[in-house]
């Protein structure tokens, strides 16, 4: 009978491994797919803003280095953002023409990067934690939106309010977008541009 007991234990173990685990395997859960996350400030009306300016390069940060990306892909990304703004009626102006909005763009290759500081854009305090999804009783993010333990890229777009500068000279970020997984293998420039379009499309503030 001993082999039968072993058989029972084996079968039991197999079932336990395959079934008892509450969460399905991560390989089933598409964690490397593109994600477009946006958040806007619901306390203001975006219709008050008429003009914008955008950076001329994309900031880049990883665990080992940082810098600026100036290549054709970066320009395509910046152009796509500008096109989305102008198609919504905002006027692109130079930085020295006192725009209502300033747009900063960064890329993080976030292999265990814990906190992203996109730098200082005309002196604003850049850190703005966007990673709590809702306040309902059953919203439990178990990772912040761009802190992950696997290699993927995140494009960050921040929109800074230069029209309503605080008395002490600080500026609020009124909108930000995080587009994740850009640096994984199969995402084309077109997909990235579509994701930028999606970031604007899913922001209700731009359609009000």
């Amino acid at each position: 009978m001993k082999p039968k007991i072993l058989l029972i234990l084996l079968v039991t173990g197999l079932f336990l491994v395959t079934s008892c685990s509450k969460y399905p395997p991560t390989s089933d859960r598409l964690l490397e797919d593109l994600v477009v996350y946006t958040k806007y400030d619901t306390s203001i009306k975006f219709s008050q803003f008429k003009t914008f300016s955008i950076v001329d390069s994309i900031s880049y940060i990883s665990q080992t280095d940082s810098g600026k990306v100036l290549d054709a892909n970066a320009q395509a990304v910046l152009n796509q953002i500008s096109q989305n703004m102008t198609s919504r009626g905002y006027i692109l102006v130079n930085k020295n023409q006192n725009p209502d909005l300033g747009i900063n763009v960064g890329v993080v290759k976030n292999v265990n990067v814990q906190v992203y500081y996109p730098g200082w854009y005309w002196g604003y305090p850049a850190y703005y934690p966007p990673w709590y999804w809702g306040g309902g009783s059953y919203y439990y993010p178990y990772y912040p939106v761009y802190i992950t333990s696997y290699a993927s890229g995140t494009l960050l777009i921040d929109m800074v309010d230069r029209k309503n500068i605080t008395p002490d000279g600080k500026m609020y970020i009124r909108w930000n977008a995080y587009i994740r997984a850009l640096l994984t293998n199969d995402h084309t420039l077109n997909q990235i541009k579509e994701s930028i379009d999606q970031a604007f499309t899913q922001t209700k503030a731009f359609s009000n």
């Binding site: 399905p24 089933d28 994600v35 996350y37 958040k39 619901t42 993010p141 994740r180 899913q202």
Partner: protein, 207 residues
């Protein structure tokens, strides 16, 4: 439960088998789930991720009473969708839904031919479940947890592997109705949770 199982096994070894009719038996089954109704709109895939442990005790003339405890999970991937919160957030991503269930029931079953090698039965389980319904939008895990009341009519057959064998097989099919609900406010709501289960397993027979 495991100690009960092996206590029964030891009893089965110590005493000579005296006939086809078991005094009790214990089942360990692979459980495949097929969702129905609103539950099927939540996850339409059938799922083999589940197992069930049960015990039955002969009361009289083929009538048995016992219990079942199970683990089950149904899951499905979905394509890109956009989810909105009330405070200006939106996320577009592929998503993944799953429900994890721990059912527990008392069971009454009637065996039509308890003394035969193949012993078909009908039964009714009454009990409850603990369920978690998860919506995974990439890193975000949004979920409901609920307890419920459940009813499970079942048909099946106990198949003894030999005339006096302490081992057998089980095949059973049941319909399960529960008062459980799924409620993701603006995204998905269900009324009740229903499913079909197919169980195939091994049986330890005690005479």
């Amino acid at each position: 439960m495991v100690s009960i199982l092996f206590a029964g096994f030891a009893q089965g070894q110590d005493k000579p088998s005296i006939g086809y009719t078991p005094s009790s038996y214990y089942t360990f089954s692979w459980n495949t789930t097929f969702t129905l109704g609103d539950f099927n709109k939540w996850v339409s895939n059938g799922s083999p991720a589940g197992f069930d442990f049960g015990g039955r005790y002969l009361i009289m003339n083929g009538l048995t009473a016992g219990f079942n405890i199970s683990w089950q999970r149904v899951s499905q991937s979905y394509g890109y969708e956009t989810f909105y919160s009330n405070d200006g957030e939106a996320i577009t991503a592929t998503n993944y839904r799953f429900t994890w269930m721990v059912p527990f029931q008392g069971v009454i079953a009637y065996h039509f031919m308890p003394d035969k090698l193949v012993s078909p039965y009908i039964g009714l389980g009454i009990g409850g479940d603990y369920m978690e319904h998860h919506l995974l939008v990439q890193e975000y895990d949004i979920y409901n947890t609920r307890w419920d009341f459940s009813l499970t009519p079942e048909i099946g057959a106990l198949v003894k592997f030999g005339k006096f064998s302490n081992w057998g097989g089980l095949i059973a099919f049941n319909y399960k109705w529960t008062t459980n609900k799924i409620d993701f406010t603006n995204y998905f709501k269900s009324k009740e949770i229903m499913m079909l289960n197919l169980k195939v397993g091994i049986v330890l027979i005690v005479r």
